[in-house]
Amino acid sequence: MSNEWPLRSSTLRERSATAVGDPVLRANVGAATDRFRTKRTSALARLHDPDALRSAARGVRGDILADWAATLELLADNVQANGGHVCWAPTGADANDYIASVAQRIGARTVVKSKSMATEETGLNEALAAVGCDTVETDLGEWIIQLAEEHPSHIIAPAMHKNRDQVADTFEAKAGMTERVTEPTELVAFARRELRRRFLEADLGITGANLGVAETGSIVLVTNEGNARMVTSMPRVHIAVMGAERIARTWDQADLVLGLLAKFGTGQTLSSYTTVLSGPRGEDEADGPDEFHLVILDNGRSDIAGTEFAEMLNCIRCGSCLNVCPVYHQTGGHAYGWVYPGPMGAVLTPLLASQQTGHGPGEDHHAGELANASTLCGACMEACPVEIPLQDLLLGLRRRNAEHAGLAERSMWRAWAAAWSRPGAYGASATVATKARRLAPLLGRLPGGSRWTDGRDLPDLPARTFRQRWDAGDV
């Protein structure tokens, strides 16, 4: 995990408070997520029974990963039969080392990349810089973020926290824009000109993979801008980095998943480009890479299989859960501190992090506390195209955290349970509570009490509990 990520240098509360205190960020994130939600709703309205499809997709993803190893093996065999190379990368460092070695072998100077969360995870750009490559992100949002030296705040709209003026500032400061423009169309035209040049000069193109389809040894890339198509047709070499779980065995399965992806992601019927790539340039073809490499990345994923969190592996990275999450809605993605934000990030980050830090499950407090970034409202599962029960997984992570909780917290819950599991003691605590009502104004001044009262009044406590009224016959 790259040190630059704020996950371990700050707390979740600090990051979320900072985000909530930034009215521009909240306005930008709020407007963007609202639009995504509206578009998803109208895209789904074009289908019969989308809920049945979600349920089927959940079953299909479970089916694929029940036979995970064999499916990967078939994929790898067919990629090679198509003339591609395969790299098995147990860790992010293994993936980076392999990609850097390819870059060095071909003497790559300019590397163009299409947005890939897996390579954010491995810190690939830093690894390529170390071997002298100039790596350019080519998804517009990702390019903006790269120029601004920030991190993505959304898995499919990485710069959604910035408005047009902030983008123009970045282009002026970092991309040599001499005549300031702020209209989105003009900003896009500027990026097109700048990046077009880089596509044509690049030696190496790197993408992620939305899906690897085993039965034909293909990978599928879904984009709107066309940058992934540039990256996979202009440079001499194309390397795709695929999370090992992003697979389908058959095209029947892939068709269902891809059909849902665009609708839940950007709310389109299909994205502009659904690209199926099966190896390097074909015979008699005028473009396309001479070499195709598929890097299959584990990086902690296999640790999730077979656990109560296994369904997190079903995630297809559409971003839908971010758009509906009321917490993400307030904080945006940076509050989550690492690559993956929102509900899926709050689950996935702790699961991947323990592998990367060498901590045992639940011991990494910085990652683990992300499970608290939720009210358990359940909007995420309801919006998930593969019905991952995210709120249940968040609860599971909280249980895991509790096993490593400090003595004070454990003692508090034990005392609570001891009192409230005995009706007599429960009644007594009820009486104490009502007696305490005159003390209530003081509670807010106690250490920690301000966590409620900064921004909220204290609730009034009643003169008598319910049981006292019931027993008195006043009900």
């Binding site: 979320s16 909530v20 895991r400 001891a418 009706p423 429960y426 319910f466």
Partner: protein
């Protein structure tokens, strides 16, 4: 999921009320109103001795054994009530009803008590959120009259909506109350930001979530009605801190005020 849409409560006459800890300690007017409304609907209401809390605070914090210990106490009490003839267990809080019906079987199972898990599953069949039961009763069993005119909105709480799938029932009941005018609220089904310990673990985000709902209250709203006292407490205390002139009221209290006479209060 343990919701059983085909459950028919037409003939229910004996119910046991699960008061909830918030109802016991902070908002006793809510269970009081629930008792009176249920009586008005012709139910004989028992409040089983020995019940405490559903265990949700500890469960949501990951402390399974502690949660199971508390929940077990309430399970025992509610089971006794059912054994004594209660046909339905009524909970005047969507969140606690969800805890019992949806999460108790898993809670006890994880705590290593499969027998309790099975008992919880069986009990869950008889558990109703208050408005879910009232709406399912034949209309003639619950006569609702009028209240002083008030401009209201209704807050759809998350667990009720997404776990119990009780969506339309509360507003259907309110529609039967003359004088209570429920306006469209763009943020009706957004989370209030309470989330139990979330409210103090990430207080800034929690408050911002409440604000987002309060910011879009229709002009002239006098009261926010809901079926979860904890959500209402979050919204009320935030509105108070902002100096907003908006009250909150649990739906049981609105229905109680709408009872045509004192039919409910003859304990």
């Amino acid at each position: 999921m343990s919701d059983a849409p085909d459950r028919r409560p037409d003939g229910v006459e004996r119910v046991a009320l699960f008061v909830t800890c918030v109802g016991e300690l902070v908002e006793p007017d809510v269970p009081v109103a629930a008792v009176r409304v249920l009586r008005a609907a012709g139910c004989d209401v028992d409040v089983p001795e020995g019940q405490t809390c559903c265990g949700q605070p500890a469960w949501n914090s990951g402390f399974t054994a502690d949660a199971a210990k508390v929940a077990g106490t309430s399970l025992d009490a509610l089971e006794r009530a059912v054994a004594d003839g209660a046909e339905a267990v009524v909970v005047p809080a969507g969140s606690c009803a969800t805890m019992i019906r949806v999460y108790w079987p898993q809670l006890f199972s994880l705590a290593g008590d499969e027998a309790a898990s099975d008992r919880a599953r069986a009990l869950g069949e008889r558990v109703w959120e208050l408005t879910e039961l009232l709406d399912a009763l034949p209309d003639e069993r619950l006569g609702l009259g009028s209240v002083e005119p008030c401009a209201a909105v209704y807050h759809r709480s998350c667990h009720m909506l997404r776990e119990l799938h009780v969506a339309e029932q509360p507003e259907a009941l309110l529609a039967r109350v003359d004088g209570c005018v429920v306006a469209e609220w763009a943020a009706a089904d957004q989370c209030c930001g309470f989330g139990g310990t979330f409210s103090v673990k990430l207080p800034e985000a929690s408050v911002a979530m409440a604000d987002e709902k309060l910011d879009v209250l229709p002009e002239g709203t006098e009261v926010i009605v809901g079926a979860d006292a904890s959500c209402l407490m979050q919204l009320r205390t935030r509105a108070g801190a902002r100096g907003m002139q908006v009250r909150t009221e649990h739906i049981a209290q609105v229905l109680e005020r709408a009872l045509p006479d004192d039919r409910g209060a003859d304990a």
